[in-house]
């Protein structure tokens, strides 16, 4: 009996001693960028991908966007405006707007001009060129391209919770509004993201 207890105690001590001697405390595994990884239930890269792909497809397929180029003989010029976060999470909406901007620009269906926050740096550089760059290479003043449309949008959430189960639904909208006439040329919404989150009440 005594020997058996000693053996068990020694074994437990040995396990405790060597358990922390793993080669590295951090394990990193690279996965495909489109792998779905839901850890907390909050907004993540998978949601961003689903929402942006849906909105981009919607926008690029819009008849009115295509018609603008045909009617005016040039591509519409778009500026990114406020993309409001009306959710209950701290979501960086600039990632979403940049994805939309990149996809639409690369599609060749619209041109973009620098946004309100970006253009002050561009203007500073242009002003700096007037005194420091050669006359031939300095960018001309008062030659900015005015935007035809402003892209705005919002992210909102509806949360419901009872016991250890909660649901989170995301409503993302985006729209292109004519700066001159206030007419909306395109509106898109995505409410595909709905998550049911179950929190375990016990762990080992």
């Amino acid at each position: 009996m005594k020997n058996r207890i000693s053996f068990i105690l020694c074994s437990l001590c040995a396990i405790a001693l060597f358990a922390g001697c793993a080669s590295s405390p951090v394990k990193v595994e690279r996965v495909e960028a489109n792998t779905q990884t839901d850890l907390s239930g909050y907004w993540n890269d998978t949601d961003l991908r689903i929402v942006s792909e849906g909105l981009i497809k919607d926008c690029l397929g819009s008849e009115r966007v295509v018609q603008f180029a045909q009617t005016n003989g040039r591509l519409p010029v778009v500026i990114v405006g406020v993309f409001a976060n009306g959710s209950d999470e701290h979501i960086d909406t600039t990632i979403l707007t940049k994805k939309l901007e990149t996809a639409i620009l690369n599609s060749g269906k619209a041109d973009f001009v620098a946004s309100k926050t970006e253009r002050s740096a561009v203007r500073d550089e242009r002003n700096d060129q007037q005194g420091n760059a050669s006359e031939k290479t300095a960018a001309a003043l008062a030659n900015e391209t005015g935007a035809d449309f402003i892209m705005t949008g919002s992210v909102k959430t509806i949360v419901d919770k009872a016991g250890n189960v909660s649901t989170r639904t995301y409503f993302v909208t985006a729209e292109l509004t004519s700066i001159e006439t206030n007419k909306k040329i395109w509106m898109g919404d995505n409410s595909e993201i709905k998550k049911v989150i179950k929190t375990s009440s016990s762990k080992l």
Binding site: M1, K2, I5, A84, N85, G86, S87, D88, E89, H90, T157, V159, K161, A162, G163, N164, T199, S200, S201, S202, K203, L204
Partner: protein
């Protein structure tokens, strides 16, 4: 075998009392706060992190650190700490099975501290202010925090429903003699006037007058529908908040004073006869008195206005603890019944034993079990220490431009006990001009 007993017994005794976390650091921090030296209080809590807060007290530490950082105007760090506390509260919902078993054998201090509901709600309110100050007046992230308060309040009324019913049934199956207060399971806090006030200001600052009006009305509803927590007049300045004349600006001042309540132990012993008793140790929310009786704002140009009470955080803490207290009560009764029943069974077997040595051994074990029940039954008194007890608000319409003003705190005898000075603050029309003053006395 004797050697093993010698080893295990002290370990067991240690295990019983290791849950008693050190609280001596609070005295130094309290003194710093009373002196208005919030930066010192923040340094003191950080210095005490390893010695005074155990791993299972993560929520407690980050709440204390987050609030002290807020008072010290370190809004970036306060946001991080309160955010960490919020995530730790979410994580603590999933309880360790071993710790849960220990809590049924020993007491609730063996569990990870999960945070109280009022802490979970107000950490977002203070984070809203943190975001507003840290982002120099931007309100988008501040409003995210206010929405989180709203979601938590919606969930609160249903949070403990089934748990309480289950616990009640379990106790009733064991004994019919345990008193049960059905009122304790009802919670009356569903709307925070303070959170609504902040939302009203943030929306007004964004020019969203409809949203601001909705929240202004919700402040009135919070007062009308929750008299237990709002047993004082609606701040008169609320009526003027959305009536700013063209060309004028509005200065708003929010003030926090006093310290949030603490938990004290209320012990009940129910005699069961033959030297046996049921010990139930319950945590009770106990308010800490505040010396502040009146808060006045004086603008250098001569205008004065009093700040008015909008939220009694201590009263909310008491109300929101009612449901959890009911659960703790049922669990304590169950645990104490098990401990005392074991002692009574051993006592009974001792009386029936034919052999004198066996009777003596069982008798000693019975006494030991009752002593263990007495010693181990302790209330879990953990609660963050540095939320304020009261929130006051006020506002005035003034001409835009630079403005200097003083917030003065007076006690009940009219003596000034502290002041906060604001120099050359730029007051702008059509935006939120919000200042915050603190008096932890």
């Amino acid at each position: 075998m004797k050697a093993l007993k010698k080893l295990l017994l002290p370990l067991f005794v240690c295990g019983l009392f290791t849950s008693c976390a050190s609280t001596s650091h609070y005295e130094k921090i309290d003194a710093s706060l009373a002196a208005g030296d919030y930066a010192a209080g923040l340094e003191q809590v950080r210095a005490a992190k390893d010695a005074a807060y155990q791993k299972k007290d993560k929520v407690l530490y980050y709440l204390d650190e987050g609030m002290l950082a807020h008072y010290a105007k370190d809004y970036g760090d306060s946001t991080k700490s309160l955010g960490t506390a919020e995530r730790a509260i979410e994580d603590a919902y999933t309880k360790s099975i071993s710790a849960a078993v220990s809590s049924y054998l020993v007491n609730d201090t063996t569990l990870e501290y999960p945070g109280e509901d009022y802490e979970d709600i107000y950490l977002n309110a203070f984070n809203a202010l943190n975001y507003f100050y840290f982002q120099k007046g931007a309100t988008e992230d501040a409003l995210v925090e206010i929405r989180r308060v709203d979601n938590k309040l919606k969930f609160l009324s249903t949070k403990y429903g089934t748990e309480i019913t289950k616990a009640q049934s379990a106790v009733m199956e064991k004994s019919n003699d345990i008193p049960y207060d059905s009122e304790a399971t009802r919670i009356g806090f569903t709307n925070s006037a303070l959170a609504r006030y902040m939302a009203m200001l943030f929306y007004r600052g964004e020019g969203k007058s409809d949203d601001a009006r909705i929240d202004r009305n919700e402040i009135k509803l919070a007062f009308a529908n929750q008299p237990a927590m709002y047993g004082f007049p609606l701040p008169s300045s609320i009526a003027d908040e959305l009536e700013v004349p063209d060309g004028m600006a509005r200065l708003n001042v929010v003030s926090f004073s006093g310290l949030s309540p603490v938990k004290t132990e209320n012990t009940v012993r129910i005699p069961l006869g033959n030297m046996h008793w049921l010990k139930i140790a319950l945590p009770v929310i106990t308010q800490r008195p505040s010396a502040v009786a009146r808060t006045e704002v004086t603008i250098d140009s001569g205008e004065k206005f009093n700040l008015e009470l909008i939220e009694d955080l201590g009263a909310v803490a008491t109300e929101t603890f009612k449901q959890k207290a009911a659960l703790i009560y049922f669990k304590s009764v169950m645990r104490s019944l098990v401990k005392t029943s074991s002692s009574m069974v051993l006592d009974d077997q001792s009386n029936k034993a034919n052999d004198a040595n066996t009777a003596l051994l069982l008798g000693v074990l019975s006494i030991g079990t009752q002593i263990y029940a007495e010693a181990s039954e302790q209330a879990d008194l953990r609660l963050s220490r540095y939320f304020p007890s009261k929130a006051y608000v006020g506002g005035i319409n003034i001409a835009p431009g630079k403005c200097s003003y003083t917030v003065r705190y007076y006690d009940a005898s009219g003596r000034q006990i502290q002041q906060a000075r604001f120099e050359n603050v730029e007051i702008r029309a059509n935006q939120l001009n919000l200042s915050e003053a603190i008096c932890i006395k």
